[in-house]
Subunit: 276 residues, 2 copies
């Protein structure tokens, strides 16, 4: 099944726009798991099982596994999601970007080894660096457009001169290319941070209603949820994958961490839905 | 020892500007290794030992290992380089790019887990995404500037408007930021492809003589070596890390692959030196 189709079905079935990010921090395992030799998988599995009901997608972040040498735990966690929570798409947050055969290997890493439904990718190297992912029509590609961090403005907001003497920020050129040139297979989405809702609105206007936007930054980074929804929702009241990681994962450091994560996930889903 | 210091010492000691890229392709193992269960490591080790004499650096490309689930082979290969060929810096070609704690984990992956001396990184997310690497003053950061692929022009050559009404391509703005804003610890280098020697010259003029430039694209991609050297060498006749992977790795598919790799590495080093 195609990534975008799965995502739309899941938006409808779950009534949720919340994406649960899975970023296991080595120093922050809850009581009872810190000494578990399989704690990376056990923590991720507990979070997934507790929050699945409230999630339109899961987004494991690969560096948090790789820095711990826990690739095996990531493979098993994604397999667990597919087996236990079918229909919830998995977006591997890897922000890859390379060319030729190397890009093919990164696509294979994400889609064949880890069995992710979609992967995040950096656009700086141009369309041939995106092709190996775009050609996998059954999977999705989530391209960085305007990120949520303070330094994002340094390159992404640079004014690019147009032929008519006007200028547009670089991130808007990325959005234009994504919508017009790169999306032949209809499997592309964009990352636009919640910390800049006005820019989210600009991107939505450029790409139209159907392209999903992955929006990090509403939790610990402090993005304005109401503004995000006003700027980013499409006419169907969907189109957004609103990601939260730390606020859910570390809602409690005690043995009740999974219940606490479920509570925060439910509250976040409900807070989004009250504003939709 | 600092990455840049190690690199300069190695340029002097080896008389070579050649960087040997290690990109193990699953379908291209030579006769005698195809059935070896430890072929990823065995192939890399044989290439490293055969070509070390002719190399100023080694550059393993991580996706080629990750797509095969061979992280352990990559760890052992880099440990082997440090133990057997001390003084040759290892540049992990990973092209990472992320923010906050995630960037910290990618830096930890490259520098602590894999013990690389330097890592390639994508600049699209801005300076806070580079900080976790730049702060590791004993290691190096190699930032993508103008890459060697055909699609590079799509974003990297976009004209960025200046305050005075002129414009400069985006990659030149990246080079300016690298030289002026990002390099407080003196541990930064840039990637500029051999396929666009004029642009290599522009970058050299912007960053000055001391910043190393990693130059892929002279082998299979067909970059003009003479033009690369005219445009990229500094006044000391160094400053370049000229990378070749496939032409060396796959010089022979027979049992003589290591000898053939050594011959091509020596010839490439000599071809560079005749033009220096």
């Amino acid at each position: 099944m195609r990534f975008i189709t799965t995502l739309k079905s899941r938006w409808a079935a779950s009534g949720s726009l919340l994406c649960v990010g899975i970023d296991p921090e080595p120093g922050r395992y809850p009581a009872g798991l810190a000494d578990d030799p399989d704690r990376v998988f056990a923590f991720g599995k507990a979070i997934v099982d507790a929050t699945a009901e409230y999630a339109c997608a899961f987004k494991p972040q690969i560096a948090h596994f790789a820095a711990q040498g826990a690739e095996d735990a990531l493979e098993r966690l994604i397999a667990h999601i597919h087996a236990t929570h079918p229909g919830i798409p998995v977006i591997l947050d890897a922000k890859r970007g390379d060319i030729g055969s190397t890009a093919q290997h990164y696509a294979s890493e994400a889609f064949d080894r880890y069995r992710a439904d979609a992967v995040t990718v950096n656009p700086y190297l141009g369309s041939d660096s995106l092709a190996p992912y775009l050609e996998r029509a059954d999977r999705g590609l989530v391209v960085l457009c305007r990120t949520s961090n303070p330094g994002a403005a340094e390159l992404q907001d640079l004014p690019v001169c147009g032929a008519d003497g006007t200028s547009r920020p670089l991130y808007q050129r990325v959005a234009e290319k994504a919508a017009r040139d790169w999306n032949a297979n209809g499997n592309l989405a964009l990352v636009v941070g919640a910390t800049w809702p006005g820019q989210l609105g600009e991107v939505r206007a450029i790409v139209g209603p159907s392209m999903p936007l992955l929006v990090p930054g509403i939790g610990a980074q402090g993005g304005d949820l109401d503004a995000v929804l006003r700027q980013g929702l499409n006419v169907e009241g969907t189109g957004l994958i609103i990601s939260s990681s730390r606020a859910i994962l570390y809602a409690s450091s005690g043995a009740d961490f999974a219940v606490a994560a479920a509570c925060v996930a439910r509250e976040t889903r409900d807070a989004i839905n009250r504003l939709r």
